[in-house]
């Protein structure tokens, strides 16, 4: 590998925080004109490594070479000057500026601080067109949908003529359809000679797009290999340091009577005439493209938004759920999609998070019973093997998977008869994913009805008994898993028939 081909060469990178060694002696290099995937469990150091590369965290020790020359990056601006661009997993744009201004954020064209708006809009139009995104560059960014915003984020990185582009879970809010479009863009960029660093939990995507793959574990680099000749199973075992055989355990449970039935529900905006029922002991999958209205259905059932039509029945009785407290009383629980945003109260400890929905039951005359509070947390910490097993620890000090377990525990404490899980395993590492699937399996075995929203088709097919596919705010009838394949679901989700 000569320097000329080597876009990025990081040697002996170590990054310590007070009391923590986040990266130790990592070597990592990427060639121009290739896609290099980085995989690893949560907390393996991927994000830290990318922040070093992005200039957000100056490394404690080690050298970085970009295009052969040794560089020092202390701020994101330094990295950008070197042609390193980052596409974040969370959308990190300015909602109050226009699309064009976002695409050129931090480097708007102009002279003497005077903005050349027309030039900027023209250039942004060209870039967006090249990416195949039909977005008006004059539109206020905040008015776009999430997936459109994700495309603007990618356009922003692309418009900067980067030499190296880093994508952190770029497909997390894209549907399979849009993911495919993104991949064709990435291939084009690669062919233009750009070095692409691709971070993802979705190993299938990695196999599809990457030329090389680097596995990180516990802050150290485990291995870099060409993509040919590596399998998903091998990657997983490198990531977790052990073999994981059954990723999607499906424990059979006796299926009983319908617990939750919705009939022709609409919210007047995102979905219309949606009907399905979830039976005791059953996992009903709800899938479809992002924006098809899945999360909105869940939020409306849980009372976070209002229904404009249709009926919701619980155990056969018609129920009006106007707020989350109504939902809790009715026996519905909801584990939201955005864990950090909607799931946890970061400044509170695990115990306080778990007891939040049922505080009133734990209270007498307004006073929280300390003993009951502790007992509840202790119970779930041990049942779900939340690590570290300490209910008094602040929840944001836990790993993503353990946070998610605590969020699920929070809802089980409310003893619901229906559990709605919205993307329960997104952003969770492989080991924790299996544990979460195990927990769900136990719950249905005990007779709970589970409605699970997921975009990951192998997961949907592996875990769910029946599947509802949504498209454009409409839902299909529940389909039996045995009659489904990934191709069939995609066909229903996109409305395109498979050849």
């Amino acid at each position: 590998m000569t320097d000329a081909h080597c876009a990025l060469d990081m040697k002996g990178i170590t990054k310590t925080f007070p009391g923590v060694k986040a990266l130790s002696n990592v070597n990592f290099s990427v060639k121009f004109g290739s896609v290099h995937a980085v995989v690893g469990e949560n907390g393996a150091g991927k994000s830290t490594l990318m922040k070093v590369l992005n200039g957000s965290y100056p490394p404690t020790s080690g050298t970085i070479r970009v295009g052969g020359a040794e560089v020092r990056m202390r701020r994101p601006a330094d990295a950008q000057a070197l042609g390193v661009r980052m596409v974040h997993q969370e959308i990190n744009l300015v909602p109050d500026l226009s699309v064009a201004e976002n695409v050129y954020l931090g480097r708007m064209p102009g002279k003497w601080t005077l903005l050349r708006r027309r030039e900027m809009v023209a250039k942004a139009t060209a870039v967006l067109e090249e990416l195949g995104a039909a977005i008006n560059p004059r539109e206020r960014l905040g008015n776009l949908s999430i997936s459109q915003q994700q495309l603007v984020e990618i356009a922003k990185a692309y418009a900067a003529d980067p030499r190296i582009i880093v994508l952190d879970e770029p497909t997390s809010s894209l549907s399979e359809h849009e993911t495919a479009a993104l991949f064709s863009i990435l291939r084009k960029m690669r062919d233009d000679g750009i070095a692409i660093v691709y971070i993802s939990h979705r190993l299938k995507e990695v196999l599809q797009i990457a030329d090389e793959v680097t596995v990180l574990r516990d802050g150290s680099m485990i291995e870099t290999r060409p993509i040919q000749g590596i399998t998903a199973a091998e990657m997983i075992s490198l990531m977790v340091g052990r073999e994981v055989n059954n990723v999607f355990p499906k424990s059979p449970a006796a299926i009983g009577a319908p617990v939750l039935s919705v009939e022709n529900i609409s919210d007047g905006r995102h979905f219309r005439d949606v009907s399905f029922d979830v039976r005791a002991g059953e996992i009903l999958g709800l899938t479809g493209l992002v924006g098809a209205g899945r999360t909105e259905v869940a939020r409306a059932i849980f009372g976070l938004s209002q229904l404009t039509g249709g009926t919701v029945r619980l155990g056969g009785r018609k129920t009006a759920v106007r707020s989350p407290s109504d939902a809790v009383k009715a026996g519905i629980a909801y584990v939201p999609e955005d864990r950090k945003g909607d799931g946890i109260v970061p400044a509170m400890c695990v115990r306080e998070n778990i007891s939040l929905p049922i505080l009133r039951q734990l209270s007498r005359l307004g006073r929280i019973s300390h003993g009951a509070d502790r007992a509840l947390a202790g119970h779930y910490v041990s049942q779900f093997a939340i690590s570290p097993p300490d209910g008094e620890r602040r929840i944001n000090l836990l790993s993503g998977g353990n946070q998610q377990k605590a969020v699920i525990a929070k809802w089980l404490a409310a003893k619901p008869s229906v559990l709605i899980l919205d993307e329960p395993t997104r952003g969770v590492d492989v080991g924790a994913k299996a544990e979460i699937h195990n927990i769900i399996g136990q719950l249905v075995a005990e007779g709970m009805a589970v409605l699970m929203i997921s975009s990951e088709l192998p997961e949907v097919l592996g875990v769910c008994d029946r599947v509802v596919v949504m498209r454009d705010g409409h839902a299909s009838v529940p389909l039996d898993r045995k009659a489904l394949s990934e191709e069939r679901i995609m066909a229903l989700a996109t409305g395109e028939e498979v050849a």
Partner: protein, 331 residues
């Protein structure tokens, strides 16, 4: 429906227009060049401070200390007159405002603390200094004739102050909409992290935002002191509430990211027009308070309604606004 949302968007203009029309009909002597020029002169003090505060609010910050800076800068510009002469002393006063703004900015950016608390503290500090250096007595300038000249009305409409205010507001409008730093202020106020990661030095922008706000508060204070030939430690003690109200009535969002110079102009003029109209009718001060408080709340609630409506539109799935991806294969 479209008219409703259009009306909501230009609500400041509509309220201003309504105020003017109703006042013109009910208040005798309201429509005249004198009223206009004097009303404008009155609005200028609030307006100059509002210009600085508009930038700060857009950047997501607030400055409660402006009233104290107003007093302090005025005092310095008067106290230094015997040593420096009137104009250099005035310049020194503006510099004091600038320095005060720099102190605010450095502390907010350096300590990373909420500007509400920080400027509450510096409000106390600057006010204390004003009392300290004057021994709590008003100080008098050397030349009353200069004050009288400064208060003259030119071209039948403008005083030096109101001309400066109008000029600055137009400059601000241009700066906020047509320059790169101006747009970056919006970026920082709307999403500071994104701005920072895009290479915008948000700390520097905030710092200069405070310096700018301090300078303008200083300028307003110096002009006030020159016009009245007095520097007083009690000047401007209730000013900031009116200024915040004017800026917010003008549609600038207090959480940052949204606002405009012309909106602020509208807000300042609305409050000015309303005050003059009510004073012309000798409406008791407490009734005036109720009216201005009510308008403030009304406009902010309207603003929330507009935003909720917009947000609802943004929540719409991609397909409603047209398929975002033209090409690309399916599974």
């Amino acid at each position: 429906m479209r008219y409703v949302s259009l009306a909501l968007q230009y609500r400041v203009g509509i309220i201003l227009g309504l105020t003017l029309i109703v006042s013109a009909m009910l208040v005798p002597g309201y429509v005249s060049a004198t009223t206009l020029s004097l009303g404008l002169d009155r609005a200028a003090t609030i307006g100059l401070i509002a210009i600085g505060l508009t930038v700060l609010l857009i950047a997501g910050q607030i400055d409660l200390s402006a009233g104290s800076v107003f007093a302090l800068a005025g005092i310095v510009s008067i106290m230094l007159q015997p040593q420096l002469g009137i104009l250099p002393a005035a310049a020194a006063g503006v510099v004091v405002g600038m320095v005060a703004g720099a102190i605010n900015g450095a502390l907010v950016v350096g300590l990373k603390v909420h500007s509400l608390v920080l400027t509450l503290a510096t409000m106390l500090i600057f006010r204390s200094i004003a009392h300290w250096i004057t021994d709590s007595q008003p100080v008098t300038g050397t030349d009353i004739m200069f004050s009288l000249a400064l208060a003259q009305i030119y071209l039948d409409v403008f005083t030096v102050r109101s001309a400066l205010f109008v000029a600055f507001i137009l400059l601000l409008h241009f700066w906020l909409t047509r320059t790169i730093p101006g747009r970056n202020v919006f970026a920082v106020g709307s999403n500071a992290v994104a701005a920072e990661e895009s290479g915008i030095a948000s700390g520097r922008i905030l710092f200069f935002g405070f310096v700018f706000a301090g300078t303008l508060a200083g300028l307003a204070g110096v002009l006030q002191s020159l016009v009245t030939n007095t520097g007083s430690p009690v000047f401007g003690s209730t000013l900031i509430v009116t200024v915040i109200a004017a800026v917010v009535v003008g549609g600038t969002r207090i959480e940052g990211g949204k606002g405009s110079a012309l909106g602020t102009l509208g807000g300042v003029l609305t409050i000015g027009a309303l005050t003059v109209a009510m004073e012309f009718q000798s409406v008791p001060a407490y009734v005036q308070q109720v009216v201005s408080g009510f308008i403030l709340i009304l406009l902010v609630v309207l603003d929330r309604t507009v935003n909720t409506r917009r947000k609802a539109a943004a929540d719409r799935p991609a397909f409603v606004q047209g398929n975002p991806i033209k090409q690309g294969g399916s599974a």
